[in-house]
């Protein structure tokens, strides 16, 4: 018993240096966000508990912003899961090399770089417009247009590489053995994909999809660079309110931030619940 407590004390000491800053930064940041959003820590004027910021938001198209954020995250994550899973399966099955390395190389590219290059690719004077020979003014507004096409494509591009890398590492070598075993038992290529590969990849797909969704909901720079000015996704809206010269807008900005955290956390809870249903490996 004594030895047990000593070893868990040692373990606690090893965890503390990572745990302490995490708890401090998350706690202080989120705590202050909540307090400020409730008007308790104003930059100007007297502290006063109020839900005014939240009530103002409901009027102020925050629901539209929420819808836009969730729609962008859902669209780009779905695309990323589709492309990423396909890429992972292809790497496992095809003898042509290079795809795994390309996917791995896309992951560390900053999203801002992705946004810049997708802008150069899809803008109305971009590479694609030149390739299809569009007359000036006739190319559809992919950047800054009504359907957030460039935003979704940039996020899907980067996140599909992330999904591919995560799924690949989870499949690794065991999947190939099981694939052989399934073939020997009479399962054709499609049967093996449906009954062996996809169930084995499911936990990795859920995990990477959840992380990707939460990331996109909270990401700022891509939607800011490639999106339209109205309606704004949550992060862009919060940022505009936060940088407003009118300091009384601060509580509203933080209210939007708190809402974004709630959406991301909700996605995480849903992902964890889904994971419990598909993760039978452990």
């Amino acid at each position: 018993m004594n030895r047990r407590t000593a070893s868990s004390r040692r373990a606690a000491l090893l965890v503390l240096p990572a745990l302490l800053p995490t708890v401090l930064v998350l706690g202080a940041g989120l705590g202050a966000a909540v307090i400020q959003s409730l008007g308790l820590l104003p930059l100007v004027g007297k502290p006063e508990l109020s839900s005014a910021a939240y009530r103002a938001l409901v009027v102020d198209d925050v629901l539209t912003g929420l819808g836009v954020s969730v729609a962008i995250a859902a669209a780009s994550t779905s695309l990323a899961l589709l492309v990423g899973a396909t890429a992972a399966v292809l790497v496992q099955r095809s003898r042509i090399g290079g795809l795994a390395a390309v996917a791995a190389a896309v992951v560390p590219i900053p999203h801002l770089v992705g946004a810049a290059t997708v802008g150069l690719l899809l803008a109305d004077s971009g590479l694609v417009a030149r390739l299809v020979g569009a007359q000036p003014g006739t190319f559809p507004a992919l950047v800054g247009g009504p359907w957030w096409v460039a935003v979704v494509l940039e996020l899907a591009w980067k996140e599909s590489a992330f999904v591919a890398v995560v799924v690949l590492s989870s499949l690794a070598t065991t999947e190939r053995d099981l694939d052989e075993a399934a073939a020997g038992l009479g399962a054709g290529p499609w049967q093996r994909l449906r009954r062996v590969t996809l169930p084995l990849a499911a936990p990795a797909l859920v995990v990477s999809g959840t992380i990707s969704f939460a990331y996109v909901v909270g990401s700022y720079e891509v939607a800011w660079l490639l999106g339209r000015t109205y309606p704004e996704p949550l992060a862009v809206l919060a940022f505009r309110l936060f940088s407003d010269t009118d300091l009384t807008m601060r509580p509203q900005a933080l209210a939007v931030a708190v809402l974004t955290v709630a959406v991301a956390a909700g996605a995480l809870v849903a992902g964890a619940a889904l994971l419990r249903r598909v993760a039978v490996l452990r």
């Binding site: 070893s7 868990s8 040692r10 373990a11 606690a12 090893l14 965890v15 240096p17 990572a18 745990l19 800053p21 995490t22 708890v23 401090l24 998350l26 202080a28 989120l30 705590g31 202050a32 966000a33 930059l43 492309v83 890429a87 292809l90 042509i96 795809l99 390309v102 996917a103 190389a105 560390p108 590219i109 801002l112 770089v113 946004a115 810049a116 290059t117 997708v118 150069l120 690719l121 971009g126 590479l127 030149r130 591009w157 590489a161 009479g186 054709g188 939460a214 990401s219 720079e221 992060a235 919060a238 940022f239 936060f242 900005a253 931030a257 708190v258 974004t260 955290v261 991301a264 956390a265």
Partner: protein
Amino acid sequence: MTALVTPAPHGRSGRRVLRARVEARAAKWGRRAGTVAVTALLLVPFLPILLWAFADRWPYPELAPTVWGVGGWLTATAQGAWPALTRSLLLGLTVSAIATPLGAMAGRALARGRVPYGKMVTALLLAPVAVPPFAVTMGLTTVALRLGVPGVVALVAVLVVAAVPYTTYIMRAAYAGYDEGFEETARTLGAGSRHVLLRVHLPLVAPALAAAAFLAFLVGWSDYVVTLLIGAGRIVSLPLLLGASASASGNDPTIAVLALLATIPPVLLLTAVTVLSRRRTQR
């Protein structure tokens, strides 16, 4: 027992075999075409920055630059691209230097499963992945301002916390597969704890450490929104320069050069980490 020796529920008719052969061939070519297509899809976004970075003139609707040159590089240099690059490198390295050992220690403790409230601790350490950094930072700036915490300290703190989930996760996985028998063997062969750490423990987890350090570096290197919020324009990192350039119009070559500069170090580091771990497994 008779049921068990009945003929198989499937026949082996010639047509079935023929169809399977056609299917197998189609699947093979489908896989090849798919691989080429997906690889191209992932590579296409690299194309514009490579072209525009060396284009001095490229009027619409020309398919290739009409005048090649390094004008973009000169403009980027004039805008302070190189000091910004140095700042970003420093930021990435600092975050990596702090978050990697923190993650390694936590990962080791968690892998051994003796941490009190282990599940909750793990959840807390991984939580920053799901928390939008801009929200945390918006709350934190006010607190930091009131407490008089310097901006750079707050910036590094937020980014370290954002990097800890990655380093912890990787190191926990590495230590889960780490055989402490090696350390015991080294002990019985006469190695002291310092030697065990330097000659056995660290070399064995080196590939995982490199991967963790790389990811932590990326968190600092790629950050845009936290630097923008905390620095309020006074800390100009490479992404900030790129963001400013990209949001203005009419300087495509400069955008491309800055984007290229922000791409090269991570790709180089990735290559180094990959080569390092591959050489390890070959031995």
